[in-house]
């Protein structure tokens, strides 16, 4: 296995509410991100996907747990990240319309990270901006344009170019294409894949779109109410989803072809609503919607086990070392 670039150990982020309660946005997430891979983090709204992103990038402080980046725990109390660490971990936001300054032209937006993170002089910075634009496949004269005068997909590519300005090793993509049309999404995604090959980047790709992850991710992790349910290499994940929630998610996707219909797990009628993260259900958080709910699920929190090499699942249906029951295969 290649080098681990980022490791989350039992990461927790609670947001206190008036009255002593708290929103448990992220409730004990542990995962590893390897160099050069794309880890897809998938979940429904409110499951804590973006909170993980913001905590890793340093916009939120973690309540508990460790964020180990290249051997340093970024989440320890009172730790201040140095400039190099800030430059190496970058983020691309969902909505390029609001993440780019609407009163600054593209060139100026791209120049700021260069001013902070590099020692280039004025002329060198201009050359680097041209280079960055070429890297994401945009024409060089875009640097004179304002964000409002370019399309949504192009704006998102500018955000990617801006993130590349500080020579990052690791980029968090927080739903980078969910505001875009599919024909535009395809262009942005193929640029991202191309960049990853060229620059050896690692991505933490946050999305709610499993079909997209099938084509982009190396491994996929499913998040439900702040906890991980399942984590597996992409091919294995889609070939044999084990967690009941994963199966429900997969069978809910509206697909456009018959071939895809065959890949989906047998029809599971999705039921119920996502519970509030303030009053998280006891035991396994998914037990209120689970069709295979057992007595133990209501009381005891399941632990993550490695059921197959690098296929992790967090469910009482599975026991470590025991073969997987035939019905789920």
């Amino acid at each position: 296995m290649s080098e681990v670039i980022l490791e989350l150990k039992n990461l927790k982020k609670y947001f206190p509410l008036p009255g002593g309660q708290s929103v448990k946005a992220v409730d004990g997430v542990s995962l590893k991100l390897f160099k050069g891979e794309t880890l897809g983090l998938v979940g429904e709204s409110g499951c804590g996907k973006s909170t993980i992103a913001y905590t890793v990038v340093g916009m939120y402080g973690a309540t508990e747990g460790e964020i180990i980046y290249k051997g340093t725990n970024l989440a320890q109390k009172g730790y201040k990240r140095n400039l190099q660490q800030k430059g190496e971990i970058q983020i691309v936001f969902q909505d390029p319309g609001s993440s780019l300054n609407s009163r600054r032209n593209v060139g100026k937006s791209l120049e700021l990270p260069l001013k902070i993170h590099t020692k280039l002089n004025k002329q060198e910075r201009q050359d680097r901006i041209d280079e960055l634009l070429e890297l994401v496949g945009l024409p060089v004269d875009f640097k004179k344009r304002m964000p409002r005068n370019i399309g949504g997909g192009e704006r998102q590519l500018v955000s990617v170019a801006r993130a590349l300005g500080s020579n990052p090793e690791f980029i968090i993509l927080d739903e980078p294409t969910s505001a875009l049309d599919v024909s535009v999404q395809a262009k942005v995604i193929s640029t991202l894949i191309h960049l990853q090959e060229k620059l050896g980047l690692s991505y933490l790709f946050i999305t709610h779109d499993l079909s997209l992850m099938r084509n982009v991710a190396t491994r996929v992790a499913i998040l439900y109410l702040g906890r991980l349910c399942e984590l597996a290499p992409t091919a294995e994940f889609f070939h044999r989803p084990l967690h009941p929630y994963t199966q429900m998610l997969l069978s809910s996707i509206p697909v456009a072809t018959d071939e895809e219909e065959k890949v989906k797990p047998a029809q599971i009628i999705s039921e119920g609503e996502i519970p509030s993260p303030v009053n998280v259900p006891s035991g396994c958080t998914f037990h209120t919607r689970c069709r295979d709910c057992m007595d133990i699920c209501k009381v005891e929190v399941p632990v993550m086990i490695e059921i197959e090499p690098s296929h992790y699942v967090c469910c009482h249906k599975f026991k470590e070392g025991e073969p997987i029951a035939a019905e789920v295969e």
Binding site: L210, V216, I253, P254, A256
Partner: protein, 332 residues
């Protein structure tokens, strides 16, 4: 197809907007029919005129819109020529609209009960129902959309309900009003995929059991395939391909539909395509011929100046494309 079987017929509808003295020609000769008891899909990317079409049907276009030609027949009566009173009545009793975002469709500070009964009062205004009867109707409709504990829901405010529940309440309002036509504008887009699945199932179920007619407007091909029996693919204000959903998805024939299907990330993991080059044309100077011409890989010379007519591909499947007409479009 006889006229009396169609609940809604849009014929040659062209709509333009005037923005700062510039006329933008958005809809160009749109034809769309909704047979009774069927669900018809209208699919296209953002800015292609889906919402303009919806708004034109209900007569709620913004004031800078001009209807240049065409008619919209609802049960044989032209909506565009209706006097104001009749139009109000059509909105109250004829057609119901479900919005994309259920949280902005309901007033957050008025209880569901009050909003529901107000809408029902107008929908059934000529039937002299007592308010107790209307209340029963509302409860019945809330049950029909499988909302548990309808009485509690009637007494709650919209902000106390989740997105999926709010969307169900909106659907229930249309149902209880016994409206014949349901316009659904991206009903699942703002919801999570498991909740969207529940809502789509519900709509499909209602079409099958209650003989409701639905126009489903969405950008998602998957949603269209799941819910509708007929589909219309819209690009830059004109419908480029249409027909039986199954046939269109099995053999997409317009270069745009083919490219769009290609762009969709597939669960089978066949990789990501490069996308469609270029972008939607400016509506103030749209291409004179086929509007997809500048981005089309199969473009012929005549596409530049002539607007393609309908070509029948299969028994219930047509396409508006010269290249397809000459058999030059071959999907992979």
């Amino acid at each position: 197809m006889e006229t009396n079987n169609n609940i809604l017929e849009i014929k040659d509808l062209s709509v333009s907007y005037t923005v700062a003295n510039v006329v933008t020609h958005v809809l160009e000769k749109v034809n769309l029919t909704v047979p009774k008891g069927k669900s018809v899909g209208l699919v296209g990317e953002s800015g292609c005129g889906k919402t303009t079409t919806m708004r034109a049907i209900l007569g709620v276009l913004p004031s800078n819109a001009n209807i240049e030609s065409g008619e919209i027949l609802f049960n044989g009566t032209d909506v565009l020529k209706m006097p104001y009173n009749q139009l109000q009545e059509f909105r109250q009793t004829g057609a119901g609209l479900i919005f994309q975002d259920p949280s902005s469709a309901l007033n957050p500070v008025i209880s569901i009960k009050k909003q529901f009964l107000t809408s029902l009062k107008y929908a059934h205004k000529d039937k002299n129902y007592s308010s107790a009867q209307l209340y029963d109707k509302a409860i019945e409709a809330l049950n029909a959309v499988s909302l548990a504990d309808p009485k509690r829901i009637m007494n709650s405010f919209p902000f106390q309900l989740s997105g999926g529940m709010r969307q169900r309440v909106c659907i229930a309002m249309t149902l209880a009003g016994e409206k014949e036509l349901l316009l659904a504008d991206e009903p699942g887009t703002a919801l999570d995929v498991t909740i969207q699945d529940q809502i789509l199932r519900l709509i499909k179920n209602l079409v099958e059991t209650l003989d409701l007619s639905v126009i489903m407007v969405t950008h998602s091909l998957g949603v269209i395939r799941q819910v509708t029996t007929e589909v219309n693919v819209m690009y830059a204000g004109s419908i480029v391909e249409g027909g039986d959903t199954h046939q269109v998805f099995e053999h997409p024939s317009h270069p745009y539909t083919i490219a769009l299907m290609d762009c969709l990330p597939k669960l089978t993991g066949t990789g990501i395509s490069e996308g469609i080059p270029g972008r939607i044309p400016d509506y103030d100077h749209p291409p004179a011929g086929c509007r997809f011409y500048p981005r089309c890989t199969y473009a012929l010379d005549r596409c530049k100046s002539e607007v393609p007519g309908k070509t029948i591909v299969e028994d219930d499947h047509w396409v508006a494309c010269f290249a397809a007409e000459e058999g030059k479009v071959c999907p992979k």
